[in-house]
């Protein structure tokens, strides 16, 4: 998927990117918590042109019984792209991509939620992508974390989804659509902002060790910025008194 389009220009002569951002500049991010009245917890995240909504239901009895774990809760994550979220309409329903993203997102969340507090139960996390423009798995993880916190589910930390990548041989923070399509690498991470751990990690393309280190540095910097917005969204929601 990465590379192979060497003739597409993604950097301006002055070193800025096509949308005017500096190489270490993130797209604008807006976060709201407590946006869905019937859910136990919810969040809305706009990251650049991406829009994700997450809802949390539970903890509830785990059904069917075979998915129950005697010592902990299971986290049931569904990442779904709305049919109208992309340029060409997507056929509704699960596909291989959404199944994989759901799986790794669930595993990331299981590493921060205090699942041992709720044996034999299930926590449902629903991630709906309403507009997709590169980086939706990361936006989904950020939204899911805020929704879990909004639902009052105890967690060691939240997870911030961020990505860096490489375009025209230059490491850049937060790829947009064109950069994702025609760039050379993509490194999405789920970072625990308080402990500095990684709960989610994927990569594709081509990165040298030095480039990886720089991309990683960009990701951590962006994660701490997004973390502030996540906390503020939860404070705003709590002070409104709803959710």
């Amino acid at each position: 998927m990465m590379g192979g389009y060497g003739d597409i220009k993604l950097l301006n002569d002055d070193g800025t990117r096509l949308d005017g951002r500096a190489v270490d500049e993130m797209r604008s991010v807006e976060i709201k918590a407590g946006v869905l009245p019937v859910a136990d917890g919810s969040a809305w995240v706009k990251h650049g042109l991406n829009v994700a909504v997450a809802a949390v239901y539970g903890p509830m009895e785990a059904h069917p019984r075979k998915i129950q774990r005697q010592d902990r809760a299971v986290i049931d994550v569904r990442y779904n792209m709305a049919p109208f979220s992309t340029s060409d309409r997507i056929r509704p329903g699960f596909n291989r991509r959404s199944r994989e993203i759901s799986k790794v997102t669930a595993e990331a969340l299981e590493s921060v939620v205090l699942v041992e507090r709720y044996p034999r139960s299930k926590i449902r996390v629903e991630i709906e992508i309403l507009a997709a423009e590169a980086g939706t798995r990361c936006v989904g993880i950020t939204a899911a974390s805020v929704a879990l916190a909004d639902a009052g589910i105890p967690m060691r930390d939240m997870i911030v989804g961020v990505a860096s990548g490489k375009i025209e041989g230059v490491v850049v923070l937060d790829l947009d659509k064109a950069e994702d399509n025609y760039g050379q690498a993509d490194l999405p991470m789920g970072i625990l902002p308080n402990t500095g751990e990684m709960a989610f990690l994927q990569m594709d393309g081509d990165l040298s060790i030095e480039e990886y280190n720089l991309a990683c540095e960009y990701n951590y910097k962006a994660a701490s910025e997004i973390h502030e917005l996540m906390k503020q969204a939860l404070l705003d929601s709590a002070s409104r008194g709803d959710a």
Binding site: V35, L36, P37, V38, A39, L49, V51, V53, A55, Y57, M60, R78, N80, A82, P83, F84, S85, T86, S87, D88, R89, P92, G93, R124, E126, E128, L130, A131, A132, E133
Partner: protein, 260 residues
């Protein structure tokens, strides 16, 4: 538990109905405030969001090109899909489209299609070869009752503000989708023995059958649907039809107010 709660709720709703009251203090024919936003989704060629109380729905309109049906070689086509995904309520399970979501999509589709508001001939690109296919997707994010009206309102608002992406498909310049009228749906639910307009979540849980009415600009009927278990008398239908005329006109005005 599943059976017990609605039984207690039914009793409470019947008591409220006896005093002509509702759970949220509304009068019988009063709707919740409707918030409508249009053109809000970046990748959709038409889009709208409707908030009615605890109900939140998004509707997106997409286009592509298709081969026309051989008996109607110059006619475009319309498709409406609905998904009641588990995000919208704890009662919804993942899986293939449920009968409830299929009904929602089809009832909204009929109101729009049968009103004739879309000139299908204007969606012809090359007769017999290529026509525009209009795809409406109803996406319920929070089911706080009466998702039918929320979806139908958002759908017609999204269509009326949609742009046909001809340039992206290399068949000329983009153009506004032309709509000749504004069909609007109004839904009524039997709660505590009598009909109310725009039922909320509790009223649907403890209520009986529902009736969906779509009216066109001239007040003509374009689609009707009775859903769920229950029966009604012609006099009752006449009463809600008269109310539908008033409510549909209000919603139509709201939809038109969002058009540039």
């Amino acid at each position: 538990m599943v059976q017990l709660v609605p039984q207690l709720l039914r009793q409470q709703l019947a008591e409220l109905a006896a005093n002509d009251e509702r759970t949220d203090g509304r009068s019988r024919w009063q709707g919740r405030d409707v918030e409508l936003e249009v053109d809000i989704l970046y990748n959709a060629e038409g889009s709208a969001k409707v908030v009615m109380g605890d109900t939140i729905v998004y509707v997106g309109v997409k286009f592509d090109t298709a081969t026309p049906y051989s008996d109607r070689p110059t006619s475009g086509s319309l498709m409406t899909g609905a998904e009641l995904r588990p995000v919208a309520h704890r009662k919804y399970e993942p899986g293939p489209p449920s009968p409830a979501s299929i009904e929602l999509g089809r009832v909204v589709d009929r109101g729009i299609r049968e009103s004739g508001c879309m000139d299908m001939e204007s969606l012809c690109i090359v007769p017999g070869e290529s026509v525009w296919r209009v795809m409406i997707d109803l996406h319920v994010l929070s089911d706080g009752g009466n998702i039918f009206d929320a979806c139908a309102t958002a759908a017609i608002a999204a269509l009326r503000t949609a742009t046909v992406p001809a340039k992206r498909f290399d068949v000329g310049e983009d153009f506004k989708l032309e709509l000749k009228s504004t069909p609007v749906m109004c839904s009524f639910t039997r709660v505590g023995g009598r009909y109310v307009y725009d039922a909320n979540e509790a009223e649907e849980l403890g209520g009986d059958e529902r009736v969906h009415i779509t009216l066109g600009d001239e007040g003509h009927l374009h689609s009707l649907q009775k859903g769920l278990k229950g029966v009604l008398m012609p006099e009752e239908f006449a009463e809600i039809l008269a109310q539908a005329g008033v409510r549909c006109a209000e919603l139509r005005e709201l939809i038109h107010s969002k058009e540039a």
